[in-house]
């Protein structure tokens, strides 16, 4: 049965542009259904702001079903809010209570500059994927699905890591602003599969080094995994560390052969 929450106050980060000063702004939500999603609540607030001739709050969103990785938001000090294993778009007001004060901030990392208000630029993730988050596949007719046998645990691991939607919550949650969970998920997804083997160590080396141009380093806090809407495990980070070490030796050998 639906239920109405009353007297919610929102403390929202507003920033005019990348170089703006930025400040918190408080807005009241007198009434909201607990069936509203968090982003619908922001939509309702924005409609009101537009009616009042004020500027709407800018925030990222797209699919609103947890698959695209566009939504973000640090809600009450947690990336994607208090609900585990979900993105902000899947968070509903039933998670909150009447009278709550909810604080909303953008992701904060030097590599994710704020575009406006709550929207940040996550393009360094594209740089990391461009550095090796793909396989060089032959074109032509699709091969039979069972052409290359893959052990079940391996395909499970690849699938678990492929679930990453590139939202950046791991970076946002990490006290060091590290992108190790994202990079290792993208890397492990391909490095455990037979199709990924030929470029495995080149991939490890260039993805890690591209990551390090932008992001902090991993201290194994584990905060990333707990914020991740896809609950990617930090096991992937250990795989990345191992493959990176090996890449330093293997790439060297192949270089010496020219």
């Amino acid at each position: 049965m639906s239920h109405t929450l009353t007297n919610i106050s929102l403390k929202i980060w507003r920033q005019d542009g990348p170089d703006g000063q930025g400040r918190f702004e408080t807005h009241q939500i007198p009434e909201i259904s607990d069936e509203a999603s968090f982003l619908e609540m922001l939509d309702i607030l924005n409609e009101r702001l537009i009616e009042e001739n004020k500027e709407a709050i800018v925030f990222d969103h797209d699919c609103r079903e947890g698959i695209c990785g566009t939504c973000s938001l640090m809600i009450d000090g947690q990336a994607h809010g208090p609900q585990k294993g979900t993105a902000t778009c899947q968070l509903h007001m039933r998670t909150f209570s009447s009278g709550d004060e909810i604080v909303i901030e953008p992701w904060r990392a030097t590599a994710f500059p704020i575009i406006k208000d709550l929207m940040v630029d996550r393009s360094p993730f594209d740089r990391i994927v461009e550095a090796g988050g793909f396989i060089t596949a032959p074109t032509g007719g699709a091969p039979d699905a069972n052409l290359i046998p893959i052990p079940k645990p391996v395909s499970d691991s690849a699938m678990d890591n492929a679930a990453c939607i590139g939202c950046g919550a791991c970076v946002a949650a990490c006290p060091n602003g590290a992108a190790s969970l994202f990079t290792s998920a993208k890397l492990t997804h391909l490095n455990v599969l037979p199709q990924g083997q030929s470029e495995r160590f080149k991939r490890a080396e260039s993805m890690v080094e591209t990551m390090e141009e932008y992001f902090g380093s991993c201290t194994n806090h584990g905060e990333c995994s707990s914020a991740c809407p896809k609950e990617i495990s930090i096991d992937a980070i250990a795989v990345m560390n191992t493959d990176y070490r090996k890449s330093k030796l293997k790439n060297r050998k192949s270089l010496s052969r020219k």
Binding site: Q78, E130, E212, S217
Partner: protein
Amino acid sequence: MAQTLSRGPVTGTAVKAPGKKKPFVLDLYGTAVGKKYVMAITGLVGLGFVITHMIGNLKVFLGPINEDGQRVYDIDIYGEFLRDLAVPLLPRTYVLWGLRFVLIGAVLLHIHAAYGLTQINRKARSVKYQSARDYQIANFASRSMRYTGVIVLLFIIWHIADLTWGSTGADWSRGDVYFNIDQSLSRIPVALLYIVANIALGIHLFHGVWSLFQSLGWNNPRFNAWRRNAAIGAAALIVVGNVSIPVATLAGIIEFDDTVVSVHDLHGSGEEEGADE
């Protein structure tokens, strides 16, 4: 808050341009992942030392033993044993000095890597969160590594000045380990310092021993469930073992008995060997 939104170059290939490479170790150390390997390996060297050092120290509880009909403190004999390692293959104290150089090197590398990583991490979030964070997994130990590390470093320096050089004001005599421990740790503020520093070390290891598995890529379903337990075990072992000594000294369980013969008199060796410590 100078921020750019420009798009970087698109490489479109997993092949990194082959440049001139530094030697493997330097190449790896130049990266953050490589620095974590160094942290973990030097941390393991430190852990190995701390455990061995604790086991040796616990010999203080064996008190005096009978050696050639004379009563000598077991821990004093152990001290001589360390100086005599590999004698006569190598001259006295050579092995001990070798071990000391390894440890000093490990501590320096550990600190250098910690400093480098801290700088990288500060830069990675130049503008902090403006509201309170609500951490879910990161714990006190993992977030205070820098502080517990610095406490441990300052303590190590003080500890060497105290019991190796005898320059912290207590009565001290080279080679008379039991006597020196009793003299120094009977001072209440000093005993408290030892207790606090070892608790800091325990907190450092509570995160460090867990963390090193990840840093070294030691991740395997066969032992993953044990990694946290290993860290708790190592931290508890070190804290209980090391803290027991100042506590026992304050409680009078460790109490120097001047009828016990000094290890120097036992061997008939004398002060001339003192200088090579």
